[in-house]
């Protein structure tokens, strides 16, 4: 019996069955077929426990949502305490917590960003950003990169990969042209007509397997935006909150974006919230018609409390330095593993603790994911490039846990290599 108070299941099998029956049959089955029969039960720090009690170290972090670990005690304490006074709040009125968080976000942000609008999730925040760009420039086109991922809401899904937009007949290629990543000529071609409202870019495209922008690429894109009067929207959902060793990854490129979007991790993993930071120019609609975007749960005050604590933790100098230590240890440890499997584990893309592990097989990351899972580590393949495993260590790791992750990863990569080669697949 698995009794969770509000509900219970007789067994994991029963739970999986009901998940298919009442929730999401395809997604539920997908994981069973992938060799990952995970149903997350207990969670604490960077650990997850399956319903069967097996412990996993989380280096997926659900895209950085658990950047600070699961149920981070400081965030939990802040939100718990706040529940004695706050609730979601009323989005019509000036709000205590929304205002406090907005001020803190602006203080943390690259120069030039002055106003904040809130959503309840990353997709909504992207929609706000795209609407904002359209309003500011009075143009419709949004340029994104091929294989981009910005969420699943109305406009965000249009800016992403066709897999998700076409499914719901939401693809609008004429409004959402896409260009290959790291291709400046294509970018200029797309912007040359001066009919583009904004370029939206993840600073490092996560779901595409964290391909790194070539040195100078983002800077040049920003310059092109200025030349052709398009806004630059930095999607910092996965690269923000100290994951690259700076609060916002875009600042490592010296770029002050017109709009910056944050989500996932800003919630502290405790209460959903997302935010859009805008320049004074972009924030015109907030002066013109502040009711322009309505969101009952957007910037819910309890979420603001979670986000304030999250920002505070991420902004501590100790944490920044720790990210540098973790990034150094992880990258040197992964380089050691790479030396043992040079034909299989072919590369590491990394900026801070944002990492993509490249494998020499079209589905390589899925094999590694499965073996990592069996070895006690949870990391996910890149949906839009399954040769690459997303590898996202938390920013509060201890040295001991970081070493343990590397030990387990070495074993799993070796086993995945043996499995792929044993089946006679072409590895090289």
């Amino acid at each position: 019996m698995h009794d969770y108070g509000a509900f219970s299941y007789a067994s994991k099998d029963e739970m999986i069955g009901k998940s298919k029956e009442f929730w999401n049959p395809d997604k539920t089955q997908f994981w069973q077929d992938s060799g990952v029969d995970l149903v997350i039960d207990r969670r604490e720090g960077y650990y997850l426990w399956d319903m069967h009690g097996r412990r996993l170290i989380d280096v997926h972090l659900n895209g950085g949502t658990y950047n600070l670990g699961h149920r981070n005690p400081e965030v939990v304490a802040a939100v718990t305490a706040a529940m004695g006074h706050f609730d979601i709040g009323n989005h019509h009125f000036p709000s205590l917590a929304r205002t406090a968080l907005a001020e803190a976000l602006i203080k943390s942000a690259p120069a030039g960003l002055t106003k904040v609008a809130y959503g309840s999730g990353g997709g909504e925040a992207i929609d706000i950003a795209l609407k904002t760009a359209r309003h500011t420039t009075q143009k419709r086109k949004i340029v994104s990169i091929v294989k981009a991922y910005h969420g699943h809401t109305g406009l965000a899904v249009g800016a992403g990969d066709q897999r998700f937009s076409e499914l719901f007949l939401s693809d609008r290629p004429e409004e959402f042209p896409q260009v290959p990543f790291n291709d400046l000529d294509a970018m200029e071609q797309a912007l040359r007509g001066r009919d583009v409202a904004a370029v939206i870019m993840e600073t490092i495209p996560a779901t595409y397997g964290f391909p790194l922008p070539e040195p100078g690429y983002l800077e040049a894109v920003k310059a092109l935006c200025e030349r052709y009067d398009a806004l630059y929207i930095a999607d910092e959902v996965q690269t923000g909150l100290m994951r690259t060793g700076e609060m916002w990854g875009i600042t490592k490129h010296g770029i002050s974006p017109d709009i910056l979007v944050t989500g996932k991790g800003i919630s502290g993993g405790i209460y959903p919230i997302s935010a859009v930071l805008m320049s004074e120019r972009a924030a015109g609609w907030l002066r013109e018609d502040g009711f322009g975007h309505m969101s009952t749960f957007g910037g819910a005050e309890l979420g603001c409390i979670a986000a304030l604590k999250t920002l505070e933790i991420c902004g501590r100098p100790e944490v920044r330095t720790m990210v540098h230590y973790i990034s150094d240890l992880m990258q040197s440890g992964l380089a050691d593993i790479q030396r043992d499997y040079p034909d299989w584990f072919t590369g590491v893309r990394a900026n801070g603790v944002v990492m993509g592990l490249e494998f020499n097989h079209p589905q390589g990351a899925k094999y590694v994911m499965k073996h990592l899972y069996e070895t006690g580590v949870w990391a996910i393949f890149s949906t839009l490039d399954p040769t690459v495993l997303q590898f996202k260590p938390g920013i509060l790791l201890t040295p001991a846990l970081a070493e343990e992750i590397l030990d387990r990863t070495e074993v799993a990569i070796g086993k995945a290599c043996a499995e792929v080669r044993g089946r006679g697949r072409r590895v090289r």
Partner: protein, 526 residues
């Protein structure tokens, strides 16, 4: 990791301080791989930076705490920075040691994260001291200063941290808590990321260090008897005792507390002490002083580290402005006699005894009240008496013919120079000697089969440590930009060590002595 509800009860600042411990873990992990040349370079750079600011922080400490004497704190700050470095520069606690004949190889293993609690009376000197010890042994240190001295200590710690990192130390190797509080200190002491607590301070903090569940080095309080027997050089004894008692207005745990003098030489000794700047109170004066200092049944903390003349004035006792020590006679060393307790001020209890043997009994009685395992002084030319004294009085260091404040702390003897005087088992401490760098290192011992047929190969020259190749940690540059953007390891150029103008350990001791004498003669002349 504590559960959320515990955090709810934690005051602001505690979670952040825990994060300091975690950063320190990373720093210690990196530092533990440094080679000896890098360690010496860092320690020397920090010692020099600290020594250069010795006066700055001496003034600041006196201003912030109201305790002590600037000139004397300058001396201590210099002794605890450059002095410590010079004393230990040739003590190698980094390189593995090979004992070929016993087929043992010892590999040093730093403690890791040292939690250093520093006192109000000796604030910056102790910050300097513990930081230097940590650096010399490749440990990271998190300093929790006494709240009364938090500003000068935090600033001093940050100055040392900056100097250390500039010399190539790992980021986070020296950290300090800005807003110390009892709950915060308890949280740090019990946190599993703390490798060892080095506690200097009052008895409560030392006891809680030992009950924290973490390894701890804490030392008990002092209450120092000084015996002058009939064989002593009275003039020299008088001079040394007064100078020592006046040193830093007697805030050190090593300052003399009760003078025990053989009746036959008492008048001559006390007369000589008067010539050195002490004021001998009559019974009425002693009563007024007792009333003022202990009127509430415990020490009036207002007197701690204050000048003798100031205390006399407050007590309603006439004393010249040049008086540096108040001599307060009493009859019997018993717990209910306030003047037999530690006074942390330039007030010296005086007891006359009929013989050296009775004097030893009196000294035992002083230490029975407080100060077990700490220190005692004796001025005598009779080795049998000195031996009887040392064997009988339960302390772990007996300073002979020297002021105890600089004697037992190793500044004017050949004991290890220290700000932390181990009081041993008798003083409820794990440390019996003066705290020194080696106390913060363990050794992994490689032990070969003792059978002569099993030969141990040569380990000479096999050193598992290395110099850092750049800033530690390196700044996280995107992996595809590594060749393009990585900064050169500029911070790790061997520092040009300029030894000109710095003193050797012996010179430093002489310097200390001279300063004390100058200070005192200045008072006496005026």
């Amino acid at each position: 990791m504590p559960q959320p509800l515990e955090y709810l009860a934690e005051p602001a600042g505690v979670p952040r301080a825990r994060q300091m411990l975690q950063q320190a873990q990373w720093a210690a992990r990196a530092f533990a791989g440094y080679d000896r040349a890098s360690v010496l370079r860092i320690a020397e750079a920090v010692a020099d930076a600290a020594a250069a600011k010795a006066r700055h922080y001496a003034e600041w400490a006196v201003r912030e705490t109201g305790f002590g004497v600037v000139e004397h704190k300058v001396v201590k700050n210099e002794a605890c920075s450059r002095g410590i470095f010079q004393t230990y520069r040739d003590t190698d606690l980094v390189t593995p040691r090979v004992d070929a004949s016993r087929k043992l190889v010892s590999v040093p293993r730093p403690a890791g994260v040292v939690l250093a609690l520093t006192p109000s009376t000796n604030p910056v000197a102790t910050v300097y001291f513990k930081t230097m010890l940590a650096l010399l042994t490749r440990n990271a240190v998190v300093i929790s200063p006494h709240p009364m001295a938090k500003e000068c200590c935090a600033d001093a710690a940050r100055m040392m941290a900056a100097a250390a990192v500039a010399a190539g130390a790992p980021e986070g190797v020296i950290q300090v808590v800005d807003e110390p509080s009892v709950p915060l200190i308890n949280a740090l002491m019990t946190d599993e990321r703390t490798s060892v607590i080095v506690a200097t301070g009052g008895t409560p903090v030392v006891r809680s260090a030992y009950s924290s569940g973490n390894p701890a080095i804490g030392v008990g309080p002092g209450n120092v008897p000084v015996l002058v027997d009939a064989s002593a050089d009275l003039a020299a004894a008088a001079k040394r005792i007064v100078a020592s008692k006046a040193f830093d207005n007697s805030v050190l745990c090593t300052n003399e507390s009760v003078l025990i003098v053989e009746e036959s030489v008492a008048d001559r000794l006390l007369a000589a002490m008067k010539r050195e700047g002490a004021l001998l109170l009559d019974s009425d004066g002693a009563r007024r002083l007792r009333e003022y200092m202990f009127g509430n049944g415990h020490l009036n903390t207002e007197v701690v580290g204050k000048p003798a003349a100031w205390i006399a004035d407050r007590a309603g006792v006439r004393a010249g402005a040049k008086t540096t020590v108040l001599l307060a006679p009493f009859d019997l060393v018993v717990p209910e006699e306030p003047l037999a307790h530690e006074k942390l001020s330039p007030v010296l209890g005086v007891v006359r005894v009929p013989s050296a043997a009775r004097g030893i009994d009196a000294a035992r009685a002083v230490v029975r009240i407080a100060g077990a395992g700490h220190s005692a002084a004796i001025h005598s030319s009779d080795p049998a008496t000195i031996m009887a004294y040392a064997a009988s009085v339960p302390v772990l260091r007996v300073s002979v013919n020297v002021g105890n404040s600089t004697g037992s702390s190793g500044l004017e003897t050949n004991l290890a120079p220290t700000m932390t005087v181990g009081t041993g088992f008798v003083g409820r401490s794990s440390l019996g000697a003066n705290l020194e760098p080696k106390n913060l290192v363990n050794w992994t011992q490689i032990a070969y089969n003792a059978d002569p047929r099993e030969v141990m190969p040569s380990f000479t020259g096999i050193v598992p440590w290395a110099a850092p190749r750049g800033p530690v940690p390196p700044y996280p540059v995107a992996s595809n930009a590594a060749g393009v953007l990585k900064a050169p390891p500029a911070t790790l150029q061997p520092a040009a060590s300029d030894l000109a103008g710095t003193a050797t350990a012996d010179e430093l001791r002489e310097h200390v002595r001279r300063l004390i004498v100058e200070e005192l003669s200045h008072f006496v002349k005026n």
